[in-house]
Amino acid sequence: MMLIRRTLFGAALGLLALGAGMAAAETAEQRGLRLATEASNRNGGYEDITVSGEMILKTSGGQSATRRFDARWVTTGAGASRSMLIFRWPGDIRNTALLTHVFTGKKDDQWLYLPAMERVRRISGSGRSGSFVGSEFAFEDMADQEVDKFKHQWIAEQNCPGGGRCHVIDRFPTSKSGYSRQRIWLDTAQLRLQQVHYFDRRGAHLKTLSVSGYRQYNGRFWRSSRMDMVNHLTGARTRLNWKGYTFNQGLQKNAFTVNALRRIR
């Protein structure tokens, strides 16, 4: 259902862009939006995802630590989703679970279940832009980004950092974010995210994300197996390994509620 709506939306945009292209040259904004939308249509449009993540944190001093979690997403509507992250490691946060409801045109809701105290508490404020469990990722860096939460601008076509040709697009968040701008590299072949530069609120290049190890699932969805985030200010870095992607196995959205949180194991 959602899939159809998105595809239609994308197609409509595509047609629009095509029409515009015939009438006049496409502007940088239009081109950026068109490509971002197309990327979202190609690799989004799933019903649900299940995956395991492993984060390896490294400080500039060389210390390292590991965090592991299982994650599930379910699409609930256009630009709306629910997700559940269940921590598996370290042992003392095992089964601590983070539930996020993403809405369109409304602030997200987030709750954390603390199994040691058997309590669920809402997380207030800007939980999505701060450091995620001490890593260099913010929560917003890990999830698929909704096209309509940004204004886009196509910059250039360049070589990708890992080889091949890429579209370079700047995207500016339209809602609350820890960043003033993100510059993304999408490969021209499959429109997969290859690299992101994150710029902080005063416009300085703060972090770089390199995405690699792409595999295609269900004959359709391209997903990476490795994301490397480097913080240029602190020198700290985090590697995020994704394993065991499963798509559209029919997860129910009522498995993503506060009540469901308490039943986590």
Partner: protein, 762 residues
């Protein structure tokens, strides 16, 4: 023909060759001047062997360590919580985010606080960033802020009339650092200017350990630009007054300028980055070399006056070759022994000055003869005391021998009492005196808002266990609570405080839930909840390692003196080992590292002092060819430092890193006068004169020159004490005092000693 005569003869025979070689040497060395660099890193004061500093570096490897800059903004009186004021504070917080390399900006506005609301825990900034500041919101803010345990005395003053804004920056490592620091400082300056223009009636003050760094280089440059020429001017005036000969003064100035330029050039070639504390080295060379010029010029004048046969100048050179060489040698020994100082700038200064002296020595004997050969001064200035006056003075001194022999032990005893009152105060900001805005701002901030010293304790859970283990956290909490109650401690930032706050919020703000949770997972999960609520730039890596096996506890101190820092560190270390031995650790941080730097330096300098004492004594015994007189000479050489430090103890009281090298450094200098005095005295005695007559002759010949040279040294080092940097101030002022006492000891005490312990043989 004596050795001195032969050497002098050679000098004169080969003086053209010597001159050419010398010119090449000076040009070669001076060409290093463009290579001169100025260090702007206060960390340069620590050597690699410094334990406290090594510990700081180790902690920096483990945690995200940033540099904190603190801005104090004081709104117009009586309006601290007005909506308009808060709006401005919000704007200022926003402006501060534009700081280059900023990791995080904190102010009372965006300070996070947590509270329970029904089933929810809200971790929120004190003021909603997006909402309008209504009078109600401002009133709520006032209540929250004044009740907050974590805000007062850090980001809000005790009585709520001044705010703090902290900017945490992480500068690039190594080569990019100085440029980055300049960027940061430029930004701060601009920020202050902008705010003062936009918000009249507000007071803006800036502090931060980072800021002292650039000022170090600036002060070094200022000292070179102002103090070095000033010292030259003072010496020139003294020479004009005392020597009264244009030729002599001009020749001496050429010698001094050559030696000084060569010293700067050497520093350039040796890649010594000058900093406040070393930049003054060439000044010392100039002043020290000037004394040798005095000896030779005065010798010439005296020879001319006495109607000496032949060239009086040549006679003066012959007479002074040995004493001037020995005194340069002993002075160089003293400076070379600064290499015992673990603090690199002090060791570097020792080497710079020692080499400068070597060049100075050469230039005195190569340049001066050539410049003065034709036009030597024939008579002394009328202002100079005559030999006859000095003889009468000698008689007066000898007549009062008993008084001197009594007076010095008594003043020595008083001096020991004064020395017991000495204490060390080392702090980068307080190294700069009140003329610098940095220092004024720091004091205003300490007075009104918060402390500026941070002391850290790196606490490790036993055997790689988790920091969330309740027993460990309880121990840390007991320590944090103890620490909070200590005098001078204004705030303690600890993991345990966060856990206790959250645990309380998690349990509906119940009083008895303000405690560490009972299990490790519960504590870990509480912290995780907190961590997920944090905004951009804030994370727990500043107080926990990523492995969660150690935690950093930070105390903020309001301390006007480093003795308080040392006392707290000592008390905390003792308290930990007695009460919580499982988590016992040492106090860490730049504050305590500086507070202890003088002690460390001093204990090392003791070896330096013993070395110079041994070297100089052996030199003296060999030169004087008399063990007895070598031993006697120790008294007037040791007494001056004793008296100077005693006087310092009774008057000023605080020493610092600079003072730790003064005894060693001055020992080689004060010996000079004793050398001149004793060599002349023994020469007269060996000619068969009695003790009294020999002393009178010695006074007549060297009395005025050692007085004059001592005045030159007192002037020169006195000018050094006009530096705005207290290491230089202390070195300058203490050295000048030591030399003044040395002059008194040589003129009053030494004759009495020589007469009392004359012995049978020489």
């Amino acid at each position: 023909m004596t050795l001195s005569e032969r050497i002098t003869q050679r000098f004169f025979r080969f003086r053209i060759v010597a001159l050419v070689l010398f010119a090449a040497l000076i040009i070669g060395l001076s060409s290093g001047i463009p290579r001169l660099e100025f260090s702007s890193d206060s960390r340069g004061f620590f050597g690699h062997s410094n334990k406290e500093f090594a510990y700081v570096l180790q902690i920096e490897e483990t945690y995200t360590i940033s540099n904190t800059l603190l801005l104090m903004v004081v709104p117009p009186p009586g309006h601290a919580f007005a909506p308009g004021t808060l709006k401005i504070l919000q704007q200022m917080t926003d402006d501060a985010w534009q700081m280059p390399y900023a990791l995080r900006i904190d102010s009372a506005i965006n300070h996070m606080h947590s509270y329970a609301q029904g089933d929810d825990i809200l971790v929120e900034p004190m003021l909603d960033e997006d909402a309008e500041i209504t009078p109600e919101a401002a009133e709520r803010f006032r209540e929250l802020a004044m009740a907050s345990g974590t805000l007062r005395n850090t980001l809000l003053s005790e009585n709520g009339d001044a705010y703090g804004i902290t900017i945490r920056v992480i500068l690039p490592k190594e080569e990019g650092k100085p440029a980055a620091r300049r960027e940061v400082e430029q930004f701060l300056k601009q920020l202050r200017d902008d705010w003062q223009a936009a918000y009249p009636g507000w007071e803006v003050r800036i502090a931060g350990g980072l800021l002292g760094n650039t000022l170090l280089a600036q002060v070094a440059v200022e000292d070179i630009l102002y103090l070095v020429p000033l010292a030259l001017l003072a010496v020139v005036i003294l020479f004009i007054v005392a020597l009264g000969s244009f030729a002599a003064v001009a020749a001496s100035v050429v010698v001094l300028v050559c030696a000084t330029l060569a010293t700067f050039g050497f520093a350039g070639w040796a890649n010594v980055a000058l900093t406040a504390g070393t930049a003054i080295g060439p000044l010392a060379v100039m002043v020290l070399v000037s004394t040798s010029c005095v000896h030779i010029v005065l010798g010439t004048i005296r020879a001319a006056e006495a109607g000496q046969e032949g060239d009086p100048f040549r006679y003066a050179i012959t007479q002074n070759l040995a004493p001037v060489t020995v005194s340069h040698l002993t002075t160089a020994f003293g400076f070379l022994c600064l290499n015992f100082a673990p603090s690199p700038p002090l060791a570097q200064m020792g080497n710079i000055v020692a080499l400068g002296l070597l060049v100075g020595h050469v230039s005195v004997f190569v340049l001066l003869p050539n410049l003065l050969h034709a036009a030597y001064p024939r008579r002394a200035s009328r202002l100079m005391v005559s030999g006859q006056d000095m003889r009468r003075f000698a008689q007066w001194v000898l007549g009062k021998s008993r008084i001197w022999l009594m007076l010095f032990p008594v003043t020595g005893g008083l001096a020991v009492l004064g020395i017991l009152r000495l204490d060390y105060d080392d702090n980068v900001i307080r190294y700069f005196d009140q003329r610098y805005e940095l220092r004024q701002d720091a004091e205003a901030i300490q007075q009104r808002l918060t402390g500026l010293e941070a002391m850290q304790f790196n606490l490790q859970a036993a055997d790689g266990q988790s920091v969330f283990e309740p027993e460990f956290l309880k121990a840390v909490d007991r320590f944090a609570v103890w620490l909070e109650a200590q005098p001078d401690v204004v705030a303690v930032s600890s993991l345990t405080r966060i856990i206790k706050d959250l645990n309380q919020s998690m349990n509906g703000d119940a009083e008895d839930a303000f405690a560490i949770a009972k299990t490790q997972p519960a504590n870990a999960q509480l912290l995780m909840f907190y961590e997920l609520s944090l905004p951009v730039g804030m994370d727990l890596n500043v107080m926990m390692d990523v492995d969660r096996t150690q935690t950093l506890l930070t105390a903020t101190l309001r301390s006007p003196h480093s003795s308080a820092v040392r006392a707290l560190a000592q008390n905390a270390e003792t308290w930990l080992s007695e009460n919580e031995p499982e988590i016992a650790t040492r106090a860490a941080g730049m504050g305590i590292a500086f507070a202890r730097i003088s002690h460390r330096n001093n204990s090392q300098m003791l070896f330096g002092f013993l070395t110079v004492l041994g070297l100089v004594s052996v030199t003296l015994v060999l030169t004087l060819r008399s063990l007895r007189h070598g031993i006697i000479s120790l008294v007037p050489n040791l007494v001056p430092a004793l008296l100077a430090f005693g006087l310092w103890g009774w008057t000023i009281g605080d020493l610092n890193l600079g003072s730790t090298v003064v005894t060693t450094m001055t020992f080689g200098i004060v010996v000079d006068d004793t050398v001149h005095f004793l060599m002349h005295y023994l020469r007269e005695r060996r000619r068969g004169l009695s003790v009294e007559t020999a002393l009178e002759e010695t006074f007549a010949v060297v009395g005025s020159s050692i007085t004059l040279t001592s005045i030159a040294l007192i002037l020169g080092f006195g000018i050094m004490s006009a530096s705005g940097f207290s290491i230089n101030q202390h070195i300058g002022m203490l050295t000048a005092t030591v030399i003044a006492f040395a002059l008194l000891s040589d003129l009053l005490l030494l004759p009495a000693l020589l007469r009392t312990f004359q012995g049978k043989s020489l």
